[in-house]
C-alpha cells in the first residue's frame, strides 16, 4: 500500500504523529505501508487537516492523478469532520466534502499506534 500524503490545511500535529508512525517504534513500513512522492506511484491518499479553500482544488487534482483503484484515508479529527476548524473562515469543509473517504482515523491528533493500526487494516497484515 503506497500512500501519497496531502496536507490539506493541517496544524502539523498529524504530520508529527505520521512521522512517528513510520519511525522505528511503530514502523508502519514493516506492514507494507509506504509514503511516496507522487500520486502517480500511489495506491491512495493520506489526507490530514481540514480542507482549506486554497487546497480544495489541488486535493481534487491529486485525487484525479491517482490511478484506480484508490483509497482515501482521512487522518485526524479535522480531516474526518472539520474538528476544531469546522465552519471557520477560509475552510471548504472536511475531506469527504471534496473527495470520497474510505478510512477515517479519529483523534486530535491520532496516536502513531492508531495510525499504524488503520494502515494495517488497509494492507491486511
Amino acid at each position: 500500500m503506497q500512500l501519497r500524503h496531502v496536507d490539506a490545511g493541517s496544524c502539523n500535529g498529524c504530520e508529527i504523529e505520521i512521522a512517528q508512525a513510520f519511525a522505528p517504534v511503530c514502523d508502519a513500513g514493516r506492514f507494507g505501508a509506504r509514503l511516496v512522492a507522487s500520486p502517480r506511484h500511489a495506491d491512495g491518499l493520506l489526507v490530514t487537516g481540514v480542507v482549506t479553500k486554497n487546497m480544495a482544488v489541488p486535493l481534487q487534482m491529486t485525487f484525479e492523478a491517482t490511478p484506480r483503484p484508490r483509497v482515501v484515508v482521512a487522518c485526524g479529527d479535522c480531516a474526518v469532520n472539520g474538528g476544531l476548524f469546522a465552519g471557520a473562515y477560509g475552510v471548504a469543509g472536511s475531506v469527504h466534502d471534496v473527495v470520497p473517504v474510505d478510512v477515517e482515523i479519529p483523534g486530535c491528533p491520532p496516536e502513531p499506534s492508531e495510525i499504524t493500526e488503520a494502515l494495517r487494516r488497509l494492507t491486511g497484515r
Binding site: S38, P58, A65
Partner: protein
C-alpha cells in the same frame, strides 16, 4: 560511362547556377533545383560506377586553364566523396524549393547554391596542383557567397562571413604553399607525377609539406583549434547551405589529408598521423562539450560537426599510424570505419541541418529556449529530425551505431600492437569515443526533448505549421538513408572498402566479409544490426499482442485520460518547463574549466529598501574558449600593428619621397 555521367553532373550544376542567375523570379528557384538534383543524380551514377568497378578515369584538357591545363581524375577515394556530396546535394536541391518559396531568394543566392554544389563535386576529381587549387578556391568563394545570402537582414552574417573568409584563406594559403613546394621538388604538378617521384623526396621536405597541408585541410574540416568559423558560419548560412557545408564541405578537409598524406606522400612517418589523431581527440571532446552546452539549434549542430570530424580524424590518424607501423590489415579496417562514419555523418548531419532549417522556417527562431511542443505541430519533421538525432547518438539500428561500432572494434583490435605510442594513441581514441558518445546523446536529448516536446515557449513556436512537401522529401530522403545504412550497412561497406584500399597506398586487404551486417575479416567479431532490429520488432509485436490479448478487468479495458501531473498546481505554463539552458547547466558546471561560461547577474533594488529587489536580469554566454585565448590576442596584436603602421604614411609628401629614396638606397646596397 562514369566519365560521361560525371561531366553531365558538373555541366548540369553549372547550368543550374546560370539559370538561377538569369531566369525571372518565379521560375529560377524551381529550374535551379531541378537541374541541380539532376546534376547530383548524374554525379552519383558516375561516382558509383567508379566505386563499384574500381576503375578510375582521368581527363586532361589544355584549353581551360592557361599554362597548365585542367587535369581531372576520379579514383575510388575521390568517388566516395563525390557520392557523399551528391546524396546530400540531392536532398538539399529538393529541400531548397520549399525553403525559398515564401521569400524568393535573390538571383545571386539562387545561383550560388548550385555553383557551390558544382565546386564540391569538382574538388575530389582534381588531379593536379593547379586544378586542385583552382577548384578549392572556387569552393571557398562560392560557399562564402552562399553564406552571405541573408546579409541584408542580419548583421551577424557579415561577421560570420569575415571569420569564414579569413580562416578559409589562411588555410588555402598553407595548402598552396605545401603543394607548390611538393610540386617543385617532385618534378611535376600532376598528382600522378608527384606520387611517382615521392621516393626521391627528403623526409624533412615531406614533413613540412604534410604539416602545411594538414593545417589548411584541418581548417576546412573544422578541427580544433581551427574550428572557430564553424559555429559562426553554420548558424548564419541558410539551412540548405549549412547542410552542404557540414555534410559535404568539411568532408573535403579529410579528403585532402588522405590525398596528400597517404596518396601523394605514401604514408610517411608515424608522428604525422599521431598529430592527426591528437587533433581528432581534441576536436571530438571540445565539439561534443560545446554541443551539449549550446542552446542555438544550428550552433549545436555546428559544434557536433566539430565533434564528428574529430572522430573521423581519430580514425584517419589511427589508420595512418598503424599503417606506418606495418599493420596494414588493421589500418584498412580503421580507415574503413572512419570513411564510413564520414558518409554517415554526411547523411545525418545533412538531415539535422535541414530539420533545423524547417524549425526556423516554421517557428521563426533557432533558439531552443523559445521552441517546444513542435512534435504535435510538425510530426513529420519531428520524426526525421528524431531519426537524425538517434543516428548521431549512435543508437543501434541507425547508421551512426554501425560506423561507431566499427571504429571501436578497429581501435580496440589495435591494442595488440607492439608500439607503445600507438597503443597509447588508440587508448586515447577509445576513451574519446566513449566520452563523446555520452555528451552527444546529452546534446541531442536536449535538442529533441526541449525543441519538440512539452508546450511551446514562444508565440512563434505556438503558431508553427508543418513545412511543405519538398522540404519533407529532402529531410526524409536523408533520414531514410540513415535507417537503411543502419539496418543493412553491408550494402555500402564493400564499396567504401574499395575507396579505403585506394586511400592506403600500401594496399590493405579486405577488412569486411561480404554480407548485410558487419563482420570483420581479420578477427572473429561480427554484429548484424538487421537481425538486432528484426529481433526487437518481433519482441515488440509479441509484447503488444500479449498486452492486447491478456484477460483484464473492466477498469483496465477502458483507459482513463488524466491531465499531466503538475504537483496539484492549477495553472501549468511553458515557463515551468525545463529549458535547454537549464538542461545543460549541470554539465556546464562540471566542465566550467573548459567551457568558461560568462554569467552576469544584475539586481536593482527599490528606492525604499535594499531588501526588496525591483528587477533581476541574468545573462549567460558560453563563448568559445579557444577563440578567446588564441584568436582574440592575435587579432588585438594585428590591430595594434595596423594602428602603428598607420602613423607611417601621414600624408606628408616629403616623407613619402624619403621612403622612396631610402628604398632605392637599400635596393642598391643589396644588389651591390
Amino acid at each position: 560511362m562514369s566519365t560521361a555521367a560525371y561531366f553531365i553532373g558538373l555541366g548540369a550544376a553549372s547550368a543550374a547556377a546560370l539559370l538561377g542567375a538569369v531566369l525571372p523570379a518565379r521560375r529560377r528557384l524551381l529550374a535551379a533545383a531541378v537541374l541541380s538534383a539532376a546534376a547530383c543524380l548524374a554525379a552519383l551514377v558516375g561516382a558509383g560506377d567508379v566505386l563499384v568497378s574500381g576503375h578510375a578515369f582521368s581527363v586532361h584538357t589544355a584549353q581551360v586553364l592557361p599554362l597548365t591545363g585542367v587535369d581531372l581524375s576520379l579514383d575510388p577515394l575521390g568517388a566516395l566523396f563525390v557520392a557523399a556530396t551528391a546524396v546530400v546535394g540531392l536532398a538539399v536541391s529538393c529541400y531548397s524549393v520549399g525553403y525559398g518559396v515564401h521569400a524568393t531568394p535573390s538571383r545571386i543566392a539562387t545561383a550560388t547554391l548550385p555553383a557551390f554544389l558544382a565546386t564540391l563535386l569538382l574538388v575530389p576529381a582534381a588531379a593536379s596542383v593547379a586544378t586542385f587549387m583552382v577548384a578549392w578556391e572556387l569552393m571557398a568563394l562560392t560557399s562564402l557567397l552562399a553564406l552571405l545570402t541573408d546579409h541584408r537582414r542580419r548583421r551577424e552574417t557579415r561577421d560570420a562571413a569575415q571569420w569564414y573568409a579569413a580562416m578559409t584563406h589562411i588555410g588555402a594559403a598553407a595548402i598552396l604553399l605545401g603543394l607548390v613546394l611538393l610540386a617543385a621538388h617532385a618534378g611535376g604538378q600532376s598528382f600522378a607525377a608527384i606520387a611517382a617521384h615521392r621516393r626521391q623526396l627528403s623526409l624533412p621536405l615531406t614533413s613540412v609539406v604534410f604539416v602545411l597541408t594538414l593545417f589548411g585541410f584541418a581548417s576546412k574540416a573544422g578541427a580544433v583549434p581551427l574550428h572557430v568559423w564553424l559555429p559562426r558560419a553554420h548558424p548564419e548560412a541558410p539551412s540548405p547551405v549549412s547542410a552542404l557545408m557540414s555534410g559535404a564541405m568539411v568532408n573535403l578537409g579529410v579528403y585532402g589529408i588522405l590525398r596528400v598524406g597517404e596518396d601523394l606522400l605514401g604514408g610517411g612517418e608515424m608522428w604525422w598521423w599521431l598529430v592527426v589523431a591528437a587533433l581528432g581527440v581534441v576536436s571530438a571532446v571540445f565539439g561534443a562539450l560545446h554541443a551539449a552546452a549550446s542552446t542555438d539549434t544550428k550552433r549545436l549542430l555546428a559544434y557536433s560537426t566539430v565533434d564528428n570530424v574529430g572522430l573521423v580524424l581519430i580514425g584517419v590518424g589511427a589508420a595512418g599510424a598503424l599503417a606506418a607501423g606495418g599493420q596494414q590489415a588493421l589500418a584498412g579496417l580503421v580507415l574503413l570505419a572512419a570513411l564510413f562514419h564520414l558518409v554517415n555523418h554526411a547523411l545525418f548531419k545533412g538531415c539535422l541541418f535541414l530539420g533545423a532549417g524547417a524549425l526556423q522556417h516554421a517557428a521563426g527562431t533557432r533558439d531552443l529556449d523559445r521552441l517546444g511542443g513542435l512534435a504535435r505541430k510538425m510530426p513529420a519533421t519531428a520524426i526525421f529530425f528524431g531519426a537524425g538525432a538517434l543516428s548521431i547518438s549512435a543508437l543501434p539500428g541507425l547508421n551512426g551505431f554501425a560506423s561507431e561500432w566499427l571504429l571501436f572494434e578497429g581501435l580496440l583490435q589495435g591494442f595488440a600492437s607492439r608500439s607503445a605510442v600507438t597503443v597509447a594513441a588508440l587508448l586515447a581514441g577509445v576513451a574519446t569515443l566513449a566520452i563523446t558518445g555520452g555528451l552527444t546523446a546529452t546534446a541531442f536529448v536536449k535538442a529533441l526533448g526541449v525543441g519538440f516536446l512539452g508546450q511551446p515557449r514562444s508565440e512563434g513556436a505556438g503558431a508553427a505549421r508543418e513545412v511543405g512537401p519538398s522540404m519533407l522529401i529532402g529531410m526524409g530522403f536523408l533520414a531514410g538513408g540513415c535507417v537503411v545504412l543502419g539496418i543493412v550497412p553491408g550494402v555500402v561497406l564493400p564499396v567504401i572498402d574499395r575507396a579505403t584500399t585506394a586511400g592506403l597506398v600500401a594496399g590493405a586487404s579486405r577488412a569486411i566479409r561480404p554480407g548485410l551486417g558487419l563482420a570483420l575479416a581479420s578477427v572473429h567479431s561480427e554484429i548484424d544490426p538487421g537481425l538486432l532490429v528484426g529481433g526487437l520488432l518481433v519482441a515488440l509485436v509479441v509484447a503488444w499482442g500479449a498486452v492486447r490479448l491478456a484477460p483484464r478487468s473492466a477498469e483496465l479495458r477502458s483507459p482513463r485520460r488524466a491531465a499531466a501531473w503538475g504537483c496539484g498546481r492549477d495553472l501549468q505554463t511553458a515557463r515551468m518547463e525545463i529549458t535547454a539552458t537549464s538542461f545543460a547547466e549541470p554539465l556546464q558546471r562540471v566542465f566550467a574549466d573548459v567551457l568558461r561560461p560568462d554569467h552576469d547577474l544584475e539586481v536593482t533594488h527599490t528606492a525604499e529598501s535594499r531588501y526588496f529587489p525591483e528587477a533581476i536580469t541574468f545573462h549567460q554566454r558560453v563563448d568559445d574558449a579557444v577563440e578567446r585565448v588564441v584568436y582574440r590576442p592575435v587579432m588585438a596584436a594585428v590591430a595594434w600593428w595596423g594602428h602603428l603602421a598607420r602613423r607611417v604614411p601621414n600624408g606628408s609628401v616629403h616623407r613619402y619621397l624619403a621612403f622612396g629614396f631610402a628604398t632605392l638606397v637599400l635596393v642598391l646596397v643589396v644588389l651591390a
